[in-house]
């Protein structure tokens, strides 16, 4: 019995320790970004003597245009992707969950298969296509695929959710003379708010973090998003200016922190039911 009673505090101690070690580098980055440049190397600790914002102003204006432009670009891109995913994935999900059309299992299987299709496999011909129609250095190659429901992960997540809604609701509506568009828009959509919230929050975080496709399609500095700009900033500065690099890194992950704080519940649910990243 005594070992049992002892086990819990030890467990807590262990968990706190693991968590602290894991998050330490991130906390240290935040602390270091607030120190004057040369102090970063000297102190591995978290305590800051005095707050210095120089790193932030220096980093913010280091590239032309300034970091404000990149934040705005990322925000526009993220917004477009969210709207695209919400509309197109919910429509596709309704069809897979509620309509009995010919070849449904076949199409559904293909949809599930595309969840596991890596972007790297399709990026070359996709790039050839989009560059031939002049879409390079616009947000279109990044947003249009979302409008076309290619994030199959979200289609699947929504299918799961709609299957859990009582069928009697649709049937009652159908008897009252509702067609599928109205059943979808007026009955199913309002009920699937949690799934839409999960989609919104995941799309936000994944698009904000996505580097590979943005690096490929956005090569004009005026069109840079936050990750692309951050990388180009890191490449252009000498190794000694960690201060401003850290400052801009912190700026770039603040939106992720906020999304995490606001949307935690949906994130955990989304992962637990379908297994996201």
């Amino acid at each position: 019995m005594t070992t049992r009673r002892l086990a819990t505090p030890v467990k807590h101690l262990g968990l706190v320790l693991i968590g602290f070690v894991m998050l330490y580098p991130v906390l240290w980055m935040i602390a270091s970004s607030l120190r004057p440049g040369d102090e970063i190397f000297r102190s591995p600790g978290l305590i800051i003597d005095s707050l210095h914002a120089e790193n932030y102003t220096e980093g913010w204006y280091a590239l032309s245009p300034s970091f404000g432009t990149y934040l705005l670009n990322s925000a526009v891109l993220v917004l477009g992707c969210i709207v695209g995913n919400l509309v197109s994935c919910s429509m596709a999900a309704y069809a897979f969950a509620r309509l009995n059309f010919s070849g449904k299992r076949w199409w559904f299987g293909i949809m599930l298969g595309t969840i596991m299709l890596p972007i790297h496999v399709i990026i070359v011909p996709q790039y050839v296509l989009f560059s031939n129609i002049g879409w390079v250095n616009t947000f279109l190659p990044l947003i249009v695929p979302k409008i076309l429901a290619t994030d199959a992960f979200f289609v699947f997540l929504m299918v799961q959710f709609i299957r859990g809604l009582p069928k009697e609701l649709d049937e009652a509506a159908r008897i009252d003379g509702c067609g599928h568009p109205r059943i979808f828009a007026q009955i199913i959509l309002p009920l699937m708010k949690p799934a839409l919230a999960t989609t919104t929050i995941f799309t936000f975080i994944w698009t904000w973090n996505d580097f590979f496709t943005q690096l490929i399609y956005l090569t004009d500095p005026d069109m840079y998003t936050v990750p692309v700009a951050l990388r180009s900033f890191v490449d252009s500065t000498v190794a000694t200016s960690w201060g401003s690099q850290f400052a801009m890194s912190v700026v770039s992950i603040i939106p992720i922190f906020l999304a995490f704080l606001i949307g935690q519940r949906y994130l955990v649910k989304g992962i637990a039911t379908t297994g996201g990243k």
């Binding site: 998050l23 596709a92 069809a95 059309f101 596991m116 070359v124 429901a149 973090n209």
Partner: protein, 307 residues
């Protein structure tokens, strides 16, 4: 139910087709069909065709037969990239899943502050693929970095972890293990599905904690473990950002962080050798498909389904 279970059960039971639904389904699925054609399956097929050509985006593609595919067999930098990628996948995924399962087991069974711990461990998963964390890693494992500062505090001589070809890949493996939070959440959800009565019955029969874990937890959790394994392997094969940022886009030092995806990027988007890049993309698809197929085949011997 996960996407994998759905795939597994797809061949069971047919659907009664409602003719009137066909029209509606066509409209609801119109964007998805267009995406399939233009953005996903279409390009997969197109890249197969491009694989047989020499194409640099400026001149029209020129048919060169199997040259690109033969080049895959003789390209020694590619073979090195494969070695790096396989090492990364085969080392980091088991470590990551072991951490995920270990912490999930600690967190299970009504521990106080579960929600707090879960969030803290999950946060790195959200940050792990960002450029910001790659920048941080570059500093932390640099010659003057945080790791060496801490080691110096204990009187241990550090080294340039990222600038040394022998250790550069290890820093990226550490980074992937660091993101064990999302498989951990899937494990936690799976553990919660196991009925408490199984453990109670086993305890009455005098089963030790250890044998309870081996005979109840592991078998009932095996579908979840399998799901995580398949997912994280596919995911690890696609790692790009960290290697790209840490090595300044080169895959260095001495190609020691040259992931397959990074090599593909260089061929396609630095050298604009689109034909070879397409062949590489197809080869990557085959590799991932082979790994997944082996996983599914092996699953017959260790994954336990009670349905």
């Amino acid at each position: 139910m996960s996407a994998l279970d759905e795939l597994r059960q797809l061949r069971r039971g047919g659907v009664q087709v409602r003719k009137s639904d066909n029209r509606a389904a066509f409209w609801f699925l119109a964007p998805w069909f267009a995406g399939l054609l233009l953005v996903t399956i279409g390009p997969v097929i197109a890249s197969f065709a491009l694989g047989f050509t020499k194409y640099n985006l400026i001149q029209p593609p020129r048919f060169i037969g199997f040259d690109n595919f033969l080049r895959i067999l003789s390209d020694s930098r590619l073979h090195n990239a494969l070695r790096v990628t396989f090492t990364y996948v085969l080392v980091s995924v088991p470590l990551q899943l072991a951490c995920a399962l270990g912490v999930a087991l600690l967190l299970n069974r009504g521990l106080r502050g579960l929600a707090f711990y879960r969030s803290a461990f999950y946060l790195p998963s959200l940050l792990g693929s960002s450029v910001a964390i790659a920048v941080l890693w570059t500093q932390v494992f640099g010659t003057d970095g945080l790791v060496n500062r801490v080691l110096g505090f204990f009187g241990v001589e550090g080294r340039g972890w990222i600038s040394d070809p022998d250790t550069a890949l290890s820093t990226l493996i550490v980074l992937n293990v660091w993101t064990f939070g999302s498989p951990m959440i899937i494990f936690l959800a799976g553990l919660r599905q196991i009925p408490e009565v199984y453990y109670e019955a086993a305890a009455i029969d005098g089963a030790s904690r250890r044998s309870q874990f081996r005979r109840i937890t592991l078998p009932l959790l095996s579908p979840i473990l399998f799901f995580n394994l398949v997912l994280q392997i596919i995911h690890a094969f696609q790692s790009f950002t960290q290697a790209f940022v840490v090595s300044g886009g080169t895959g260095g030092p001495s190609d020691s962080t040259m992931f397959y995806t990074l090599y593909l990027y260089q061929q396609g988007f630095s050298r604009f050798d689109m034909g070879y890049a397409s062949a590489l993309a197809w080869f990557l698809l085959l590799i991932i498909a082979a790994f997944t197929a082996i996983n599914f085949w092996a699953a017959k011997y260790w994954v336990f389904y009670d349905d």
